[in-house]
C-alpha cells in the first residue's frame, strides 16, 4: 500500500487507484464529471485538476495513479480557481433551465456550482444554440444544450454494450451528442446512459416529468426481473415506485442493469390484488384466512396431511420460502412441498439478462426445496392431492393445458398472490401478499450471492408480506412461528442452514453474502 501526502497529510492508500479513488478512500472528494469507474478514462471535463508535486502543470486526478511518496494538493487557491474556471466554462453555453429540467436536484452542475462555483456571471456573449428534445430512440431524450460533452454515454455504448450508437459530432463549442445517421439508441441497456449522464442532457422517456427527484425516497433492493439479481435503488413516493436505478455491486451487476429489468417496476403499481377473495368474491382477510384454516383441518382429518400440497416460489424471498417449508412440514405435517414457478423463459445474453425470469431459484434450491415441476404435476394429476396451497406462484394462471388438467383434480386451491389474475379469481381462496419493495427479505441470485432487499413502503389495502401472512395462518392452525421481524427468522435460518449460521439480517454485507459454491452449483445442475 503506497503512502501519499494528500493536502499535507500522509495517508496510506490502495495500490492501483487513481487520485479520485485514492482521495475518496480517505474521505477527500475530488469533483469530476467525465470520470466514471465503470468506463474507460477520458479526461475531458478537467474538473478533477489537482496539483501534483514535480509534475509539469496541473494534473487530472482521474488519469493520475498513486505512487509511493506522491505529494498531491486539492485544496490550494490554484485548484479552487481551476475548478471555478471549469464550472464557468461548462455553464457558459448551458441554458440554465433548472426549473424545467428533470435532472434538477440530482445534477452535478447544480451541486458543483454551490460547492466550487459561486462566481459572478461575467458572460455577455450569446449562447451557442443546439437541438432540444432530440428523440434518440425508444427510451431516451437528449437536450444538446444541457450537455457538457463528458462522453460518458458515448463510452458506455462503445465499451459496455459495444453497440456504438452515439457519437460526438462537430467541433469546438458546436460539438453535440448525436446518433450515427440512420441509427437509434436502441439496445437492451440503453437507459443506463441516463443514469450516467451527470446533467440533464439525457432523460428517460419513462421517468421524465413524473416527479421532482427531491420528493422521492430510496430503498436498496434487488431487481426481480431475472435470476441475475441486479442490485438496485428503488425510488418511490407515497407508496408508488417511480423508477429503478442500478446500484453498484461489483460481484453482480457492476454499475448497470437492463432496460427490461428497469421497467419491471411497473408491475408493482398495476393490477394488484389488494383484498382477499373467496371464490373470486372479495372477502375480509380474517374471514378468508378462517376459510383456509377450516378447509385445511377438514382435509387433513378426512384424507391425511399428505393430501395437502404446499408450493413456494422462486419469486418469493428466502425467508418466505423458509416459512412456507415450515408451514407445510411442521404446521400442516405434509412432506408434499415444492417451490417452483411456471414463469416462461425470456431474453438472455452474455451480459446481465438471464432467461430465468425469477429472482430466487438458487435460493429455493439452497433451502432444499423441490423445484421439479413434473413431480408436482404428476402428484396433482394422480388425484391424491385434495388441497393445494400456492404461495407467490400462480399455477392456475401460468399453467398450460396439461397443468390445467392436473389442477382440475384438486378440489381446493389456495393462492397467496400479488396480482389480481385469472388464477386469483379461480382459486378457492386468494390472499393478497406484498411484492418485494413492500417487505424485507433476501434473494439468492444465480451465482449464489444472497442479497437483501429493504422495504420501500408498506403495502396498502389488506396486503401482507408473505412471511406475516404465512405466519398468521400457522398461528390460526395453533402452531405460530412467533416471528416479529427478519432478525428472528434469521436466527432460525442460521440454526437450520450452517452456511447462514452467525449471520444477522441487518448486518448482511452490502454486496451480498456469497453462499458456499456447492449450494449454488447444486441448484444450477438441477435446473438444467
Amino acid at each position: 500500500m503506497p503512502k501519499i501526502t494528500l493536502n499535507g497529510q500522509e495517508v496510506e492508500v490502495q495500490d492501483g487507484l487513481n487520485l479520485i479513488q485514492a482521495a475518496e478512500s480517505v474521505g477527500v472528494t475530488i469533483p469530476h464529471y467525465c470520470y466514471h469507474p465503470g468506463l474507460p478514462i477520458d479526461g475531458n471535463c478537467r474538473m478533477c485538476l489537482t496539483e501534483v508535486e514535480g509534475a509539469r502543470g496541473p494534473q487530472i486526478a482521474c488519469n493520475t495513479f498513486v505512487k509511493e511518496g506522491m505529494v498531491v494538493k486539492t485544496d490550494t487557491p490554484a485548484v479552487e480557481k481551476m475548478r471555478k474556471g471549469v464550472q464557468e466554462f461548462l455553464l457558459l453555453n448551458h441554458p440554465i433551465d433548472c426549473p424545467i429540467c428533470d435532472q434538477a436536484g440530482e445534477c452535478r452542475l447544480q451541486d458543483y456550482y454551490m460547492e466550487y462555483g459561486q462566481y459572478d456571471n461575467r458572460s455577455m456573449v450569446e449562447k451557442v444554440e443546439k437541438k432540444k428534445a432530440v428523440d434518440l430512440g425508444p427510451t431516451v431524450v437528449l437536450d444538446q444544450e444541457r450537455c457538457i460533452l463528458c462522453s460518458r454515454c458515448v463510452r458506455f455504448c462503445e465499451s459496455v454494450t459495444e453497440t456504438g450508437e452515439l457519437v460526438i459530432a462537430n467541433r469546438g463549442d458546436h460539438s453535440a451528442i448525436e446518433t450515427f445517421p440512420g441509427m437509434e439508441l436502441d439496445n437492451p441497456y440503453s437507459v443506463n446512459v441516463v443514469d450516467l449522464c451527470p446533467v440533464g442532457a439525457l432523460t428517460s422517456k419513462d421517468f421524465r416529468f413524473k416527479q421532482r427527484v427531491w420528493f422521492l425516497q430510496t430503498a436498496k433492493s434487488v431487481c426481480t426481473g431475472c435470476a441475475k439479481g441486479c442490485a438496485i435503488d428503488v425510488d418511490h413516493k407515497d407508496g408508488e415506485v417511480f423508477r429503478y436505478r442500478p446500484r453498484h455491486n461489483p460481484d453482480v451487476n457492476s454499475y448497470w442493469m437492463c432496460d427490461e429489468g428497469r421497467f419491471s417496476y411497473k408491475r408493482i403499481n398495476e393490477d394488484r390484488l389488494r383484498t382477499a377473495l373467496i371464490e373470486g368474491r372479495e372477502a375480509a382477510y380474517g374471514t378468508a384466512l378462517d376459510a383456509v384454516v377450516t378447509k385445511l383441518k377438514s382435509v387433513v382429518e378426512l384424507y391425511g396431511a399428505e393430501s395437502v400440497a404446499v408450493v413456494g416460489s422462486p419469486h418469493g424471498t428466502v425467508e418466505d420460502n423458509f416459512l412456507v417449508n415450515r408451514l407445510a412440514r411442521e404446521v400442516i405435517g405434509t412432506s408434499k412441498v415444492w417451490a417452483l414457478a411456471l414463469t416462461p423463459d425470456g431474453s438472455q445474453d452474455d451480459f446481465l439478462r438471464r432467461a430465468d425470469k425469477t429472482p430466487n431459484r438458487t435460493g429455493v434450491k439452497f433451502l432444499g426445496l423441490n423445484d421439479d415441476a413434473e413431480s408436482l404435476k404428476a402428484a396433482l394429476a394422480s388425484g391424491a392431492i385434495r388441497m393445494l396451497v400456492m404461495v407467490n406462484t400462480d399455477l392456475l394462471t401460468e399453467g398450460d393445458g396439461s397443468w390445467q388438467e392436473a389442477l382440475s383434480k384438486v378440489p381446493t386451491t389456495v393462492l397467496f398472490g400479488t396480482h389480481e389474475t385469472e388464477g386469483a379469481r379461480k382459486a378457492g381462496v386468494s390472499l393478497p401478499i406484498a411484492m418485494h419493495v413492500e417487505t424485507y427479505g433476501s434473494f439468492v441470485q444465480e451465482n449464489g450471492i444472497l442479497q437483501k432487499i429493504m422495504r420501500a413502503f408498506d403495502p396498502t389495502g389488506d396486503v401482507l408480506p408473505t412471511w406475516e401472512a404465512v405466519g398468521m395462518l400457522a398461528g390460526r392452525l395453533g402452531k405460530g412461528f412467533g416471528y416479529d421481524d427478519m432478525e428472528q427468522i434469521w436466527e432460525d435460518l442460521g440454526k437450520t442452514y450452517p452456511a447462514l449460521a452467525g449471520q444477522t439480517f441487518y448486518a448482511l454485507p452490502e454486496n451480498g453474502l456469497s453462499l458456499p459454491a456447492g449450494a449454488a452449483a447444486g441448484s444450477a445442475a438441477a435446473r438444467h
Binding site: N44, V86, F89
Partner: protein, 432 residues
C-alpha cells in the same frame, strides 16, 4: 562551417521531384549507405547532428528515435506529420512539391534506424495536389525497389503510404493525428502513455515532421558533425522559414540557425512592403506570442533566443506585420481560427476559445470595455495548461501577448467605439 543549403538544396533544380533527376544529384546514396550501417550508428549520427524536430516543439530527433523500445513484440511505425496547418506555415508543402524524394529517402533511413517496416505520411486534406505528386514519387521509389519488401536488395522491408486528412488543424497534434490515421475522429489522446510506446494502433511509433525527416539523408551523406557545424551552440544546422505578410518577397527560405532577423528581413525578404514601417512579427506560426518591431530587430532566429524574449521558434511560419495593421483585428482573426479549430473534447478549450473570440470580436466592433481585457486574461489563465493538448495555449499565448504589447490599441477601440484603423480606411470600391 559556412552556411550551405541542406533541405532546400534541390528547390531550384528543375524536375528534382523526378527520381532520375534526384538520383543524378546523388539521391538515394545516403539510404544505400545507411542500410549498410548498424541501425544504432544511424541514430548516433542523427544525435551528433543535433537535429531537432521542425514541426514546432523542437524535440531532438535522434533522442525521440531512441525511445522506441527494442524488445516490443508489436510493429513499429514511422508517421510523418505533413498536416502543416499552423497559420503562416507552408514550408513542408514546398518541400513535397520540389523534393519529395529527399522525404522518401529520409523515411527509408529513419525506418531502418529504429526498426520500422511501415511508414505513413499523414498529409493535410487541402494538400491534394501535393498528395498526388507525392504518391507519384513514392510509386517511383517502389518501382526502383527502394521501397517494398526488399529495399535496395537488402531484404529489409519498408512500406510507405500517404493518408489524407480531412481538414482539421488539430490533426497536426501528433496523437490526434494518430487517432485520425486509425480512422477515428481526430482528437488528442491523454498522455501518458506516449506514442513512443503506445502510438499508432497502440504500437511504438515515431511521429516526425516532414522537414525533420527530409533533413536526415543529408546528415547521413555528410555526417552529423557537418550539420552540427552550422547554427548556434544549442540550435544546430539550418531550417526552413515560411514567411508571409507585409514584405516584398514572401516565400520559403532556408536559413542558418541564429541568423539575425534584421539581416533576414533586409537580405532575404526584401524589407517591409510599400516602404512602410515594421510593427510586429509573429516569429514561428500564429500560436507564438507576438514580437514588437524592436524585439524582432534585435533578435537572432534560433529557438533559444526567441524563447528568451518569451516567444517560440515554432514551425518557422513567420508573419511580418506593418504599421497599418490593427492588432485587435488581427487577434480577432486569429482567435476565430482557434475557436473554429478547437476539437471540442476538453472543457476549457472548447468553451474558452470561442469565448475569447467573441469578446475580442466585440472589442473590435467598438462595444468592448476595459473590463474585457481583465476578463480575457483571466479566461486565458483558466485555459492555459488546463487542457489535454496545447491548442488552448496556442490561442491564449498570443492573446496575452497582444494585450501586453499592444494594449494601447485595445484601449483606442474602447475610446473610438470602433476600430480606428477601419475608420481611417478608404471605403471599399472607392477606386485604387
Amino acid at each position: 562551417m559556412a552556411f550551405q543549403k541542406v533541405v532546400s538544396r534541390h528547390f531550384d533544380v528543375p524536375n528534382a521531384h523526378d527520381i532520375a533527376v534526384y538520383e543524378s544529384l546523388g539521391g538515394y546514396q545516403a539510404a544505400r549507405k545507411a542500410l549498410a550501417m548498424e541501425p544504432g550508428a544511424i541514430i548516433e549520427e542523427v544525435k551528433t547532428s543535433g537535429l531537432r524536430g521542425r514541426g514546432g516543439a523542437g524535440f531532438p530527433a535522434g533522442m525521440k528515435w531512441s525511445f522506441i523500445p527494442k524488445d516490443s513484440p508489436k510493429p513499429k511505425y514511422l508517421v510523418v506529420n505533413s498536416d502543416e496547418s499552423e497559420p503562416g506555415t507552408f514550408k513542408d508543402r514546398k518541400l513535397i512539391e520540389c523534393d519529395p524524394h529527399s522525404l522518401i529517402e529520409g523515411v527509408i533511413i529513419s525506418c531502418f534506424a529504429f526498426g520500422s517496416h511501415q511508414a505513413y505520411i499523414y498529409i493535410r486534406g487541402e494538400f491534394n495536389q501535393q498528395r498526388i505528386h507525392l504518391n507519384d514519387a513514392i510509386q517511383q521509389a517502389y518501382d526502383k525497389g527502394y521501397l517494398g519488401d526488399n529495399v535496395f536488395g537488402t531484404g529489409y522491408t519498408i512500406h510507405l503510404s500517404t493518408h489524407r486528412g480531412a481538414g482539421a488543424y488539430i490533426c497536426g497534434e501528433e496523437t490526434a493525428l494518430l487517432e485520425s490515421l486509425e480512422g477515428k475522429k481526430g482528437q488528442p489522446r491523454l498522455k501518458p502513455p506516449f506514442p513512443a510506446t503506445h502510438g499508432l494502433f497502440q504500437s511504438p511509433t515515431v511521429v516526425n515532421n516532414v522537414e525533420t525527416i527530409a533533413t536526415v539523408p543529408w546528415i547521413i551523406a555528410n555526417g552529423g558533425a557537418a550539420y552540427a557545424a552550422m547554427g548556434t551552440e544549442k540550435a544546430k544546422g539550418t531550417r526552413l522559414m515560411s514567411v508571409s505578410g507585409h514584405i516584398n518577397k514572401p516565400g520559403v527560405y532556408e536559413i542558418e540557425m541564429g541568423m539575425p532577423f534584421k539581416d533576414f528581413l533586409a537580405e532575404n525578404l526584401g524589407g517591409v512592403w510599400k516602404g512602410r514601417t515594421l510593427k510586429a512579427v509573429i516569429p514561428g506560426g500564429s500560436s507564438c506570442p507576438i514580437l514588437t518591431a524592436e524585439e524582432a530587430m534585435n533578435l537572432t532566429l534560433d529557438p533559444e533566443a526567441i524563447a528568451a524574449i518569451g516567444s517560440m521558434a515554432g514551425s518557422g511560419g513567420m508573419m511580418v506585420i506593418d504599421d497599418q495593421t490593427c492588432m485587435v483585428d488581427l487577434l480577432e482573426d486569429l482567435t476565430h481560427f482557434y475557436a473554429h479549430e478547437s476539437c471540442g473534447q476538453c472543457t476549457p478549450c472548447r468553451e474558452g476559445t470561442d469565448w475569447l473570440y467573441k469578446i475580442i470580436r466585440r472589442i473590435e466592433s467598438g462595444r468592448g470595455t476595459a473590463q474585457d481585457l481583465d476578463d480575457i486574461l483571466d479566461i486565458a489563465d483558466n485555459m492555459e495548461g488546463k487542457t489535454i493538448c496545447a491548442l488552448a495555449a496556442a490561442a491564449t499565448m498570443p492573446t496575452r501577448s497582444y494585450i501586453k504589447k499592444f494594449r494601447d490599441e485595445f484601449v483606442a477601440h474602447f475610446e473610438h467605439r470602433g476600430c480606428p484603423y477601419k475608420q481611417a480606411k478608404v471605403p471599399a470600391g472607392a477606386g485604387a
